[in-house]
């Protein structure tokens, strides 16, 4: 059973084509990620899913309804925006109560839901604080709580941990995992690879309005890149000559400003050879390939803006 189905989904702004005919399915109870550099079309896609931006063409259904039934879809959906849009003039708990009204939730129910949600995001001690006293991480948790006030079947998160410190990020991840266990379907965008690897069951990598690849984080690493990477940090001229001769033993070699990357399936064997030409043992190391390698390989390393 798919919660979101998109076929040849396209969005144009004048002459600019932000999303260029993408297909994807979000399944029930999974966490689905959109990865991509800035300008890849992630946020536009999310806005179409949350029915605040009508598609230019293609098909889109959300929670088994066509995307032009925005009111009915959004009634069963929660949205955590990238930018804080809390009501600054009122307290933490009042933010939840005001939002609950938008969903026609009766006062008494809203009150108990608000207290419960404040516990869930560990803000119960801050319930009577004004928003400007909250830290960035607290605001994000409150935004998540607010998005849950209507007990949504589908939760949409646009870069849920951008700008948060590591402790706050881990707390947000823990909450999202616990929501997933409760049966909420999650759709998120991120450009943190560790976040995607931590949270997503499946993900797509977008670039310039298109979906390049789709799969689980593990599948993508296995399919799209070699399993191991040898990094050589700032080789001198002599070492570089030796490395050039070793290049054909690797599946792929990438030269960056400050280092060389050898992608290989036989890391230990190649590592010994690399160590033979690079005298400094501290400048060479072997690691497993990550989602970040896949991402950079597909979307390029240059600055895209």
């Amino acid at each position: 059973m798919s919660v979101v189905v998109a076929r040849d989904l396209t969005k144009r702004f004048g002459e600019f084509e932000a999303v260029r005919g993408v297909d994807f399915d979000v399944r029930e109870r999974e966490c689905f990620g959109f990865l991509g550099p800035n300008g890849a079309g992630k946020t536009t896609t999310m806005r179409m899913i949350s029915c605040t931006s009508p598609p230019t063409s293609g098909e889109l259904s959300v929670l088994s309804l066509p995307s032009n039934r925005g009111r009915d879809i959004r009634r069963r959906m929660g949205v955590v925006p990238q930018e804080n849009n809390l009501d600054e003039e009122v307290t933490v708990v009042e933010n939840l109560l005001i939002y609950a009204r938008y969903f026609d939730i009766p006062r008494r129910e809203a009150r108990s839901a608000a207290e419960e949600l404040l516990h869930f995001v560990a803000l119960q001690d801050k319930r009577d604080w004004r928003i400007d006293r909250l830290s960035g991480g607290m605001k994000r948790r409150l935004l998540i709580a607010r998005a849950l006030v209507n007990e949504p079947d589908l939760l949409i998160l646009d870069e849920p941990t951008t700008g948060l410190d590591p402790q706050a990020r881990h707390l947000v991840w823990e909450k999202l995992r616990s929501l997933k266990r409760q049966g909420v379907t999650l759709v998120l965008t991120t450009h943190y690879m560790d976040e995607a690897a931590q949270l997503c069951d499946r993900l797509v990598i977008m670039h310039e309005g298109r979906i390049l690849v789709e799969g689980s984080p593990r599948e993508l690493v296995a399919r799209e890149t070699s399993p191991q990477v040898i990094e050589v940090f700032e080789p001198d001229e002599g070492a570089a000559q030796g490395l050039r001769d070793l290049a054909e033993l690797a599946e792929r070699v990438e030269r960056l400003a400050d280092r060389w990357l050898f992608y290989t399936a036989e890391g230990d064997a190649l590592l010994a050879k690399v160590r033979g030409v690079v005298p400094d043992p501290g400048a060479v190391w072997l690691r497993g390939a990550t989602l970040e390698d896949v991402f950079l390989q597909l979307t390029g390393r240059g600055l895209l803006e």
Binding site: E15, E17, S53, D72, R101, F103, D104
Partner: protein, 273 residues
């Protein structure tokens, strides 16, 4: 494929006079939000809006009035009080639907938050119109009540002032929100206030009858929304002239009906992309 990708799509703009996708209950939700926040902040907000027309009433009515005999058969303070009531209603909503709404839309992202719920942007717009009207009603009616204490009310038609003030408030809410939906930067409100609100305040027949102006200026005055609001309030509090009241009310209702959907569709055009 590349041919299709380079095809220029004409972006269909929201028609200005289409029937907006509104639900009154949803608009009411936004009204409730504004009311909840107003309850928190009215102590700071209420004073400047409130006292300005009073200063005029006292300064002009007693100060200038002491040098005047009678104007069109009335004491000067009685003559200017109804126009200042209309002005209080106009200010009551105008600050709200211009500066406040722009800040909510552009900086606070309050409308984006609401649009992630079953509310549409048209619901949000209607909620703002109703809230602006409510504020006009508060400021205008309280002015009438306090001014009545100065003995400026001379007709039983005063019982109709709540309806009249609500109509005036809705009219100025529609006009102000239309402007807000169009302008790209908050600085443009200077135009609204110095080229629209202030000239109306001076030439709408609050402080002197427009019948004394040259013919062309009288024609211009007739087209000013505030002039019609002044006529309505003067008929309902001072002269008791039913015919004048009905004419002014009809003018106000007609303009409001004509423009009513405009701010809602313009907000849609601006925010639903």
């Amino acid at each position: 494929m590349s041919a299709a990708a380079t095809t220029v799509a004409r972006v269909r703009k929201t028609p200005l006079f289409r029937i907006p996708d509104v639900r009154v209950r949803s608009a009411w939700r936004l009204w409730q939000r504004n009311a909840a926040i107003y309850r928190k902040t009215y102590k700071i907000n209420i004073l400047p809006n409130f006292f300005e027309p009073f200063f005029y009433l006292l300064a002009m009515g007693f100060g200038l009035g002491a040098y005047l005999s009678r104007l069109e058969g009335f004491d000067y303070i009685d003559y200017i009080a109804p126009g200042l009531a209309a002005t209080a209603a106009m200010y009551g909503t105008s600050f709200e639907v211009t500066f406040n709404c722009f800040v909510k839309m552009q900086f606070g992202k309050v409308y984006d938050a609401a649009m992630a719920t079953p509310l549409t942007i048209e619901d949000v717009g209607l909620g703002e119109l109703l809230w602006g009207t409510t504020r006009a009603l508060i400021y205008g009616q309280v002015f009438v009540l306090i001014a009545a204490g100065f003995g400026v009310v001379h007709t039983p038609l005063v019982i109709f002032t709540p309806v009249a003030i609500a109509m005036i408030g809705l009219m100025f809410s529609v006009i102000g929100l239309t402007f807000t939906a169009i302008i790209p930067l908050i600085d443009y409100f200077t135009y609204y206030w110095t080229l629209f609100i202030t000239p109306m305040f001076l030439f709408s027949g609050i402080f002197f009858p427009v019948s004394g102006l040259p013919g062309w200026a009288q024609v211009m005055a007739w087209f000013m929304p505030l002039h019609q609001a002044v006529n309505l309030m003067r008929a309902l509090t001072l002269t008791g002239d039913v015919r004048a009241a009905v004419l002014a009310a009809a003018w106000i209702a007609a303009l409001t009906a004509l423009l009513f959907v405009l701010p809602l569709n313009l907000l849609h055009r601006r925010l639903v992309k």
